[in-house]
Subunit: 335 residues, 2 copies
Amino acid sequence: MDRRPTIVDVARQAGVSKSTVSLVLQNSALVKEETRQQVRQAMADIGYVYNRAAATLRSANAGLIGLVINDLRNPFFTEFATSLQMALSAAGYATVLANTDEDPDLQGQVVSAMLEHGVSALIIAPTYGQEDATFGAISRAGIPALQVLRKVVPEVDRFPFAAPDYLAGGRLAARHLLDLGARRIAFLGGLEGREVTYQRMSGYLAVLAAAGLPPLVLPGRPGRAFGREAARLLARSHPDVDAVICFNDLVALGLLSGCAEIGRRVGPDLKIVGFDDIEDCAQVFPGLTSVRCDIACFGQRMAETMLRWLRDGCAPPPETLTPVELIARGSTLSR
Amino acid sequence: MDRRPTIVDVARQAGVSKSTVSLVLQNSALVKEETRQQVRQAMADIGYVYNRAAATLRSANAGLIGLVINDLRNPFFTEFATSLQMALSAAGYATVLANTDEDPDLQGQVVSAMLEHGVSALIIAPTYGQEDATFGAISRAGIPALQVLRKVVPEVDRFPFAAPDYLAGGRLAARHLLDLGARRIAFLGGLEGREVTYQRMSGYLAVLAAAGLPPLVLPGRPGRAFGREAARLLARSHPDVDAVICFNDLVALGLLSGCAEIGRRVGPDLKIVGFDDIEDCAQVFPGLTSVRCDIACFGQRMAETMLRWLRDGCAPPPETLTPVELIARGSTLSR
DNA sequence: CTGAAAGCGCTTACAG
DNA sequence: CTGAAAGCGCTTACAG
């Protein structure tokens, strides 16, 4: 047997027609149990492998879902992608994954490639820029698509949006610090002009305004390197700052390292809150207080949402915000 | 236009036959430049999207490569998967990715699913267990497949193996510590019975044996949590240990946290070397000395290797070990 | 250089 | 419940 066996080979082996084999493949209730057994046995005997390309061509369902991620190296997104992929896999869908590295051109390319491959749906943690090119192409393809974690196009009826409730998270973080007696609270990291930065910052701004305290916003790249440098910057240029809310955990973890480096005590001297609650937060010392988005759960939830949309035609609500909670750890203890 | 346009529609629009359109799609030199332009224009005009499923059915090349990873949450593997995917994407291949979470059953499942999807090739960072089920299926499908980072089946002619030179890495780490005056060096982490654990340990064992020093091996799960606990274990049960080589960076970073927690000075009191050199190593304080595997480069290299195999039929050598180097940082400084 | 025809391996109505 | 036939959108020889 040098070529791959087809349903015709299976049919011959089992002594039925190829239509019957096809029905068995689809778990149709039309086929008698005994026949089903025979067919399955025949498949096993000749080593049949289902050819999805052929099935796709006829029925226009590839069983393939595209997952596009703006920064897959960030553990927050890794966890998201992993939990989503595993949930889809359990439901019989394979995941085509691409990292766009915050590059809009790359994003356009990979989305086109996925559409050519006939993905049945797309879940996209988008990057900013060239939104029309990317989402226009998806729109023309007419497949279900979810924008997650960042809203980059306003058409949430066509492209429903879901994310953790960043605003509430920022509020929780700010209140936590106020309750602990902090009086000069900064917001650190996140690129200026990005909607997601503003989202994560706005709860903080609201709480400070309500308390009659002035905000201090120090934008920066959302990675460890910036956080680490910021430790020096804070000590030198803003010695009055007694607490910091970071754009994400990477910035916060960098800041933690930076404080260790310059010998500033995290907790008593400077309280630090991260955002996302990636796994590292619980493992570093002192532990990093963070806003838990439960991204693994969020990933599973997005998988279910998409499966429901695909299977029952039941589109999700235009906007979904999932709850967040504050996890207090050593980085905000006073001693 | 409610159905997706096909090459027939493009042909009609451009006033040529559908064969010609197909040739244009394949960038065939047979088509006159002027005709090519017309056809491309027609595609753009009617919003044509290439249907790869149809092409695959006829020509048996899906332009899809499967990537199977045993632990995608570990930044080492994330970086590997990301760099590989991006290199494949640049070459026009889409990547189907799955995390197996070290579960052999899951691995069998996702590999089957990928074969059904007609992946042209497979790159697999395998888990231990049920090797025959997984690799038997790949073998029957007859597609090129690479086992990377771990060798789990001995048939390296059929499944070429590539990984960083772990043995050399262990040797570098041990020599580095001996040169710095360490006299009681432990090897920490890695599950017993796994080939990869032995690989990473063997350079250490060889160097210690040559120096006439007794080894101390403390196996454990390859994550931060184990490393952190190990700080206590070492201080209590093995106070004479003055240096540690860790199975991977996660263990080492956990150990770093654990030492901070119990107030043990990393460097002067205890020297620590990690393995992999993930990005965090340079960002923590003190910086973590580690064995650099340059996994991003390794990922790109594997992409090229596979592309050459696929395009030129040029199979890689049965075993490839890529060089590693020791990156010294604060965690092995004496003060 | 271009066109007409067959065929890849399935699914889908439609008869029986 | 099962079978014969058409067709999904391409590619691939084969003529011209």
